[in-house]
């Protein structure tokens, strides 16, 4: 009988679910949001429908991400550092350093044999995270999805001197008022975020190959700005939002395999999709 493994990555901005056996059978990415966060079970349900599987057939469920602690239907919670490491190790085995730029934090992870051996994290300041671009995009009246492409058309990217997101927003609006072309401002913003992330990750002694994951990896402007900082290209998984969820599913598989080898029975949560209790 086939075994199926689910990984659910409840991030601050997006909720990601992956169902795997030998490969990814189904994946769903949905916004977390204040209301959606309580409805992580629905994202899971959607993934089960896509995979054409009843929940009872899932052998093991691992939750990761910001809201992992309160996913009641998960069998185990594992940190996003470990899950990202496992996911990237599986997708891009040649990678030694992972840079993950999420909606609310950014992190650097050092890999050896596909497992995290060191990490750094910024969860204190919105600068250096997806939130920085989100907030400044709003200030500029530009759609977040257009920011990356627009940054590539910058001819003379301006220097954004404020590292604080709130003040940077004021600064870019002032630059706009001064008549600085929009692409140059957006280019400057991307350089600022790349510089901040780079200076944090440098603590790890960055080794090639470097992978970029998280929502930040979907922004071509940020990818290019980081490549400029690093001085070489980075690798981006096919769907950079899913690495944590894939890693979670794979770690679930590892756990089940190890338990089977030891002849142990693993405790499992009830296979009933309940609301995540993040806010309660």
């Amino acid at each position: 009988m086939s075994q199926y493994f689910a990984g659910i990555d409840l991030g601050s901005t997006m909720t990601k679910v992956v169902i795997m056996n030998q490969a990814v059978l189904a994946s769903v990415i949905g916004p977390t949001g204040p209301e959606h966060r309580k409805l992580a079970n629905r994202v899971m349900e959607e993934a089960l429908v896509k995979a054409n599987l009843p929940f009872a057939d899932i052998t093991y469920v691992v939750a990761t991400g910001y809201g992992r602690i309160n996913v009641p239907f998960a069998d185990k919670q594992i940190t996003e550092i470990s899950c990202h490491a496992r996911g990237v190790g599986y997708l891009l085995p040649e990678v030694r350093t992972v840079i993950d730029i999420g909606g609310q934090d950014s992190k650097g992870i050092k890999l050896k044999d596909g497992r995290a051996v060191d990490f750094v994290m910024n969860d204190k300041c919105a600068a250096g995270t997806g939130r920085f671009l989100e907030v400044t995009a709003e200030g500029l009246g530009v759609k977040l999805d257009d920011m990356g492409k627009l940054s590539l058309t910058a001819k003379n990217a301006v220097r954004i001197s404020n590292t604080c997101t709130v003040f940077a927003t004021q600064e870019v609006v002032a630059k706009l008022a001064e008549g600085v072309p929009l692409p140059d401002i957006i280019g400057g913003l991307h350089e600022a975020i790349a510089a901040r992330v780079y200076s944090m990750v440098r603590r790890l002694k960055i080794e090639r190959e470097v992978a970029l994951t998280g929502g930040g990896a979907k922004n071509i402007g940020l990818v290019k700005a980081l490549e400029t900082k690093l001085g070489y290209p980075v690798l981006v998984p096919p769907e950079p939002l899913l690495t944590g969820a894939i890693g979670a599913a794979l770690l679930g598989k590892d756990i089940v395999k190890e338990a089977a080898e030891k002849g142990e029975t693993l405790p499992r949560s009830e296979r009933r999709l309940q609301e995540a209790t993040f806010f309660t």
């Binding site: 910001y66 594992i78 940190t79 996003e80 550092i81 470990s82 490491a85 050896k112 044999d113 497992r115 995290a116 051996v117 060191d118 990490f119 750094v120 994290m121 969860d123 204190k124 603590r203 002694k205």
Partner: protein, 449 residues
Amino acid sequence: MTEEKKPEERKKRRTATEAASRIGPMVKATIGGTVQAREEGKPIAYSFICCCYDEIIRAMDIVPVWTENYAGVCGAKRDAQRFLERAEAENFSRSLCTYALCGLGFDAWREELGEMPPESPWGGQARPDMMLGSGQMLCDPRNKWYQASQRYMPDVPVYDVGLPWPPYEDDYDYREVQDYYVKYIVEELKGLVQFLEKHTGRKMDWDRLSELVDLADRTWNLIWETYELRKAVPTPMGTGDAMNTMVPMVFMMGTQEAYDFYKELNDELKHKIANKEGEIPDEKYRLIWGGGLPAWFALTDFNYFNNKGAVFPVETTYRMVEAIYHFDIDLSKITDPLEHVAWRWVKFWTYWYDKAKKRPGSHPDVERLIQYIEDYKIDGIVMHEAFSCRSWHVGLIWQLNQLKKVYRDIPSLILESDIVDISSYNEADTRARIDAFIDTLEAVKSRGR
């Protein structure tokens, strides 16, 4: 009405040793004792820890009020914000040392009221008769804090003791200049004695001072020997407890009570080791608290580490002694008590210099970490960057990078918050980082299996 708010008291940290559990009541009694001393008209001095003048004030029966300690108590009781806000309202920058801000806010409030602020933690900080600065090379509030306090207490005199030590350079021997430093410190201490005699009307009892200096030497040795016991596997005591047991070391040096405390701790640890009784039942990871003052409001994080199987057999923070008999000078031959204290000071701060010089690219602080990692069989390093304390924390990341460069790669975790300001702290994020760190420790360990 922020000033009226009284926050809920934090749940107490679980201690592993009986000795550590006695510290809270001891500190409370000491702080209460200073208020009582004020009422009885005994001379009271605001003082800094690691000040070099412990035995001097004890010999003259001056009651110290350890202002950093009181700020830490306010932080630990999660009741510092109202004092920080008060200092900010007095135009002190929020980015200054929060020990100083808390103290200044408290003093401003107490002086305005003419009595302790409402519901002051543990009865409040007594008004001093004098304030004794203790400027180290690396901590500017120790020079400036009490001068700023004079805004509220202009009648209270300040004496600022300069306490330098030779800086580390890998291409010269500090011994070439050590005599000058000792001479300078002795002069500073002489000036302090004169100041104290003038303001208390008491004469220094030099014989008693010598006795207390000798007692402090013996206490240093005893502490060193006691802390070395923590090398045992499993370790009988962790850093969480050490953040308590440091109290007699830094607030009661030169007293028999301090010596007796460490004798009892020594006995307790030996008993635990004989019974293979560790801080936790199943010790999986041995960590070093590699720098940074603790977040006093979050000491339960040490229990969180413990719950994950992690212990801290050693720390660099508040390990403010070395074995006197390891110094390259026989202190027992220095009979002048002020000179004796000055030499002890210089030898303590230069203790790791020679070792550092032997390893290219190293540094005394790095060398100390390496030695502890080896001696205590350490798996990972945890440091705490307290945003408001630049002087002690500014070099931590550099130290970590150098350590990895000149020694070996070792899992490390940097926690970020503050010593007193709880608004800098997020428990969920901190614990998420700890979880991730434990994962990396496990990954590294399993690779080595």
